[in-house]
């Protein structure tokens, strides 16, 4: 049976046969880094073409259909175009910060990859505070946006960056509170243990209504945190040309673009891990025969299937609703999502103490 853990174990034993421990570690780190970059490239290509196709079908259009079979190589062609374009730095810009900002965006996205469990026993870094790490590191994302907006020396960029700051800081609260709902039920911050706790059913089924509310709030907050429509005030094409990345071109723009899609993947991966069981196959309580059949599907397939389902949900959400105004955006967070998720935490805590969940 195909398993990512087996492949990594084979590579590890082969390396240990030929090298000493230090060099094995170095080579394995290099392999991990290269695979993360490879995953980024593949995600960028796949998610861009997926976004364009989904948006086209939702709007009764055809979408890209010229490059390759059914337009599937469109994003590849776009990447080549962005690679050969000139990366211009404006005269009035703060050159150091201007060039640093896209780098920070992509480095933060790379850091966020560390604790995600891609398959059974397949994780870059199984730390005991994975959830805390994710919420802490993902807030650095706003620094890169603010940096890009400030360094561009452009009013559109600065406005977009300021909006993005207000937005990410406020939506992190309700995202964090909905994550805490699962942490309360599991009693652990480690991704591995959270997945293990869902062996007899995913939290979205086991935790019934409070967890479903937390899931909906998480999806809304995740959309806002990744700066996607209907919360894309930081970019807001019709108002701010392109917001914080107005002045960026060529590969620097591509890095921001890639970071956006990788962040979408990461928040969906976290959502899938917390609420839909990560790599855990679909198990129902004690139906052992049924559970055994489900185990035949590789765990990495389950993980990527759930993540892409959530990505599709977010895209569906994006292409259905128009952009909110800044006051509506902050109203939604401070008057609705935050009080509801706080009340929801109370419900979840009561449920965890009284053992009302399955």
């Amino acid at each position: 049976m195909f398993s990512l853990a087996d492949i990594s174990k084979t590579i590890d034993t082969w390396l240990r046969l030929h090298l000493n421990d230090t060099w094995t570690l170095v080579v394995e780190m290099v392999i991990a880094g290269v695979s993360v970059i490879g995953l980024f490239a593949v995600l960028g290509l796949v998610l861009v073409i997926m976004e364009r196709k989904v948006s086209a079908w939702i709007q009764i259009r055809l979408g890209p259909n010229r490059v390759g079979p059914k337009g599937m190589f469109q994003s590849l062609a776009d990447t080549v175009k962005l690679l050969v374009k000139e990366g211009l730095t404006p005269d009035g810009a703060d050159k150091f910060l201007f060039n640093l900002a896209p780098l920070i965006a992509i480095v933060v996205a790379m850091l966020l990859m560390a604790p995600i469990a891609f398959a059974k026993n397949f994780q870059l870094w199984d730390m005991n505070i994975g959830v805390l790490y994710i919420t802490a590191v993902s807030s650095i994302m706003v620094i890169s946006v603010l940096m890009a907006g400030w360094a561009s020396n452009n009013k559109y960029s600065l406005l977009g960056a300021m909006r993005s700051g207000a937005q990410i800081v406020s939506y992190e609260l309700s995202a964090g509170l909905s994550i805490i709902a699962i942490v309360i039920l599991t009693g652990s911050l480690s991704f591995n243990e959270i997945v293990q706790s869902q062996a007899d059913g995913w939290w979205i089924f086991k935790g019934h209504i409070p967890v479903i509310i937390a899931f909906v709030i998480f999806i809304i907050a995740a959309t806002a945190e990744t700066n996607r429509a209907p919360f894309d005030l930081a970019e807001a094409e019709s108002e701010l040309t392109a917001g914080f990345h107005t002045e960026y071109s060529g590969m620097k723009f591509a890095l921001f673009f890639l970071a956006e899609y990788v962040n979408v993947f990461i928040v969906c991966a976290i959502g899938a891990t917390l609420f839909l069981g990560g790599w855990m196959p679909f198990h129902i309580g004690h139906w052992d025969a049924f559970n055994h059949v489900m185990d035949f599907i590789p765990s990495s397939m389950w993980f990527f299937g759930k993540t892409f389902f959530l990505i599709f949900l977010i895209m569906w959400f994006r292409w259905t609703f128009p952009r909110l105004r800044i006051d509506q955006l902050l109203n939604l967070e401070w008057k609705y999502l935050l009080p509801i998720s706080m009340f929801n935490i109370l419900l979840v805590t009561a449920m965890a103490i009284l053992k009302w969940h399955f």
Binding site: V54, W57, I58, I60, W316, W319, T320, Y336, I340
Partner: protein, 158 residues
């Protein structure tokens, strides 16, 4: 009271969200009714929308007769001097002089397709055609004479 309104708002928001997503979900799963026209490929079968306005034309019937009386209402209605009506006087069989058009000159390069001339015309002599491939190499070709050579006014149109 406030709390009841609050809860009502939350539920109506969730409901309207679901209604919207059901609509787009329907479009997503039914991609037969695509509205995109793949233009140069389907040039032969292309169907334009009724409201599309391409250029002003003057329809002639099979006897090479049009309905234009030369009243210059279109020329007066035109906001940017696109239409120029050059009139002449015909001699009717009874020996009376009657106003008629010699040429109705239409400058396509100035036209904004605003439709005001068609609205202004009292005898429905001109209308909007749905052609749109107007590119030419010499701009003189964009100055068109709408009435056919040798055409005359239809009987009964005053």
């Amino acid at each position: 009271m406030y709390i009841i309104n609050y809860i009502k708002t939350v539920f109506s928001t969730v409901r309207s969200m679901l209604v919207g997503m059901r609509r787009t979900g329907y479009y997503f799963t039914h991609h037969k009714e695509i509205i995109t026209e793949q233009y140069p490929d389907n040039r032969d079968t292309l169907k334009m929308a009724d409201r599309f306005k391409g250029e002003v034309v003057m329809p002639h019937d099979e006897k090479n007769e049009h309905r234009c009386t030369g009243c210059t209402a279109c020329e007066l209605a035109c906001p940017n001097g696109t239409i120029k009506v050059i009139t002449k006087f015909d001699i009717t069989p009874e020996g009376k002089k009657k106003k008629a058009i010699d040429k109705l000159v239409y400058h396509l390069e100035l036209c904004t397709m605003c439709n005001l001339c068609i609205v202004a015309c009292p005898s429905d002599a001109i209308k909007m055609a749905q052609t749109f491939e107007h590119s030419v190499f010499d701009r003189n070709e964009l100055t068109k004479v709408l009435n056919n050579p040798g055409s005359k006014i239809m009987d009964g149109v005053e």
